[in-house]
Point group: C2
Chain length 347, copies 2
C-alpha cells in the first residue's frame, strides 16, 4: 500500500478526520460531533485521539506521512499559530501546530480552510491537473483560496484569497470587517437570508413570508426552494446573488487570468438559480473572460466534462473555466491530507 496522511477539517460545527493515501484513495473518514465551542483543549484532545486511532490502524500497511489541519482563520505559517479566527475563540496566541506535533510525534501542517479546499479540488476535484486555479467558497461568508503552479498562494503573510471582503458595491451594506459593500454581504448564505427578510419586510414577498413563518429552520435553502418553484421575489434574490458573484469573479479573472475558478461551499448547490446571472455579469465585466470564455460555459459544469484549458498546448486557445466544486465538504479533508503528504520529509 502507498504511504498515507491524515486530513482534518476543523469546522465550526463538526470535526472530521480522514486517512487518505498519497494517491488520493480515502481509507477511512471519521466525523465527530465535537463542538468547537467546547474549547480548545478538548477539541485538540479529541482530534489527536482520532488521528492516532486512524494512523495506528493503517500504519501496518503504509507509511504515515503526517497530518494536515484545515482551520477557519488566518495562520502564521512560520509559527503554526492562529493569527486571527472569528470561529475559534481562545485559539489565538497558542502554539497549535507545535502542541499537536508533540502529541502525535509526527509532522503537522496548519492551513486555512479555504486554502485546503482549493488544494483538494485541485488534487482530486473539479480542477484536477489544472495548475493555476482559485476556489470561491460560498458559505455563511465567502472564503477564497488561490493555487499557483500546484501550490497554495499564501501571499506575503498568509492572507491572500480574502475574496469575501473585496468591495463590490462602494456604498453598500456594512460588513463586520469595517468596510461597506463587501462581496460576502451580497453573495453568501447570510446575504440571501438578509435579502429575504428585507423582501418580507417590504410586504411584497408572500411566498417568502409564509415560508419564514412556518419553517423554524428558514434559511438560504428555503429561499432556493422557492426560487426553483418560480417564486419571483426568491428568484430576484438569486439573480442579485449571481450578479454580485459575477462582479467579484470578473475582477479575479481580470487580475489573475487563471485557468479555472471553482465555486464551492454550501450555497454552490443553488448553482442553477444564480449561474446564468453570474456568467452574464462575468462576460460583460471582464474583458479577459470575454476573449477567453468557452462557447458554452454552463456545459463545463458537467463533472468530468470538457476542460479545454488543459487540453490544448496552444496557450492562446486556452479558455477560462468557471465551474462548480466536485468534492463538497470533503475538499478540505483531501486538501489537508495532500498538504501533509507534500510537507512530509519522508515523501
Amino acid at each position: 500500500m502507498p504511504a498515507f496522511s491524515i486530513g482534518v477539517d476543523l469546522g465550526g460545527t463538526n470535526l472530521r478526520i480522514a486517512a487518505v493515501t498519497s494517491e488520493g484513495q480515502l481509507l477511512e473518514k471519521i466525523t465527530l460531533g465535537t463542538q468547537v465551542i467546547r474549547g480548545r483543549d478538548q477539541v485538540i484532545q479529541e482530534m489527536c485521539d482520532a488521528i492516532q486511532q486512524l494512523s495506528g490502524k493503517y500504519r501496518s500497511s503504509g507509511r504515515f506521512l503526517g497530518a494536515g489541519i484545515g482551520v477557519p482563520g488566518i495562520i502564521d505559517m512560520a509559527t503554526g499559530m492562529l493569527r486571527k479566527s472569528a470561529n475559534l475563540p481562545g485559539w489565538e496566541e497558542y502554539p497549535v501546530r507545535a502542541e499537536i506535533e508533540r502529541r502525535l510525534g509526527a509532522p503537522v501542517v496548519l492551513e486555512n480552510d479555504a486554502n485546503v479546499a482549493a488544494l483538494g479540488e485541485q488534487w482530486l476535484g473539479a480542477a484536477r491537473d489544472v495548475p493555476n486555479m482559485a476556489v470561491i467558497t460560498l458559505g455563511t461568508g465567502i472564503g477564497g483560496g488561490i493555487v499557483i503552479k500546484g501550490k497554495i498562494w499564501h501571499g506575503m503573510n498568509g492572507m491572500a484569497g480574502e475574496f469575501g471582503h473585496v468591495t463590490v458595491e462602494p456604498e453598500g451594506y456594512p460588513c463586520g470587517c469595517g468596510n461597506r459593500g463587501c462581496a460576502e454581504q451580497y453573495a453568501s448564505a447570510s446575504s440571501i437570508l438578509r435579502m429575504a427578510r428585507e423582501a418580507i419586510a417590504g410586504g411584497k414577498a408572500p411566498g417568502l413570508a409564509r415560508a419564514a413563518s412556518s419553517d423554524p429552520e428558514f434559511g438560504a435553502k428555503s429561499v432556493y426552494n422557492l426560487a426553483i418553484q418560480g417564486d419571483q421575489p426568491a428568484r430576484h434574490i438569486f439573480r442579485s446573488f449571481g450578479r454580485y458573484l459575477g462582479i467579484l469573479l470578473a475582477g479575479l479573472v481580470n487580475v489573475l487570468n487563471l485557468d479555472m475558478y471553482v465555486i464551492g461551499g454550501g450555497v454552490s448547490s443553488a448553482w442553477d438559480a444564480f449561474a446564468a446571472n453570474m456568467f452574464a455579469e462575468l462576460r460583460e465585466r471582464s474583458l479577459v473572460y470575454a476573449v477567453t470564455a468557452p462557447h458554452d460555459p454552463l456545459t463545463t459544469d458537467v463533472p468530468g466534462g470538457k476542460r479545454s484549458s488543459t487540453e490544448t498546448d496552444d496557450v492562446s486557445q486556452r479558455v477560462t473555466i468557471v465551474t462548480r466544486a466536485l468534492l463538497g465538504s470533503d475538499a478540505g479533508l483531501y486538501g489537508a491530507a495532500v498538504l501533509a503528504s507534500q510537507n512530509s520529509p519522508d515523501r
Copy 2:
C-alpha cells in the same frame, strides 16, 4: 564590462531604446520621434536600426544578450504576436518577434508594457529586492503588472494584471471594454479630464472653467495644478480619484497579499493630491491592509526609505507597502532590458 541587453519602449508617441548592462547600468538611451501612427513596417525598421546601432557600439566591450520590447497590448507569448492592441493598429496577426529576431540575428522577447514596467521597478526601482509586487500604471488608462517570485505573472494566456477594467462602481460610467464602472473610468488621466468637464458644465467650477478656456493644453495636469493651489472643485476630483484607486487597491491587497504595490504612470506625479484619500479607502476597505499596514504609510514614499516588508524575516511582521514608482517612464526600458537578459540562452 558585463554583458548587456537592449530594452525598447514602444509607446504611443515615442520609440525609446536603451542599452543596459546585466548589472543594471544604463549605457546609452536613444529617444526617437518615430510616430507609431506612421505604420508597423517603418517603426520596426527604425527600431531595428537603433538596436543595431547600440548593440554594435557596445559589443566590443561586453556580450550582447538580446532585446526586450515592451508593447501596449496583449501578447501571445508562445508565438510572439500581438493578440490585441488598441494603440498599434496593423500589428495584430503579424509575426512581430520573429521578424525582429530575423533582422537582428539575436533573441527578442515581446512583453506587455505594464508588465515590463513592473519588472523594471522590481529590478532597479521602488520594489528592488521585493519578490512579490504589482505595479498600477496610471496614464490615459490604467495598466497593471504582477511580479511573483521575481517573475512576471502572465496568467493562463498573458492577460493577467488588467487592473484598469476591474469594476469599482457597478452602475458607473460605460467603458470602451463594454463594462460599466471600470477603474480606469475613475482613476486615470482621462477620468480626471472627464470629471473636470462635468464640473465646468455644472457651472460650479470657475477656476477649472477659466483654465479650460485659456489653456489650449488643458488636461489632467492643469487640474492638478489647480488642486494644489487649493481650488475646491479640482481638489474634489482628486479626492474622488484617490477614493476609487483605493477601492481598486483594496481588492488587490485582499486577493493577492503582495509585499508591495507600486503606483506609476504619469498621473502618479499627482500623488500628494490623491494619496491621503487612497490610503484612507484602502485601510477601510481591506482587512488585509488594516492588519499589515505600516504605522505611517506615507513615509514609505521616501525614495530609499524604510521597506519593512523586506527587512524582517518574521513573516507575520511584514507590512504591505503602497508607494510611488521611482523610475518614471524608464521603468519599462529597464524591465524590457532585464527580461532580454533573463531570456538569453547565453546568460
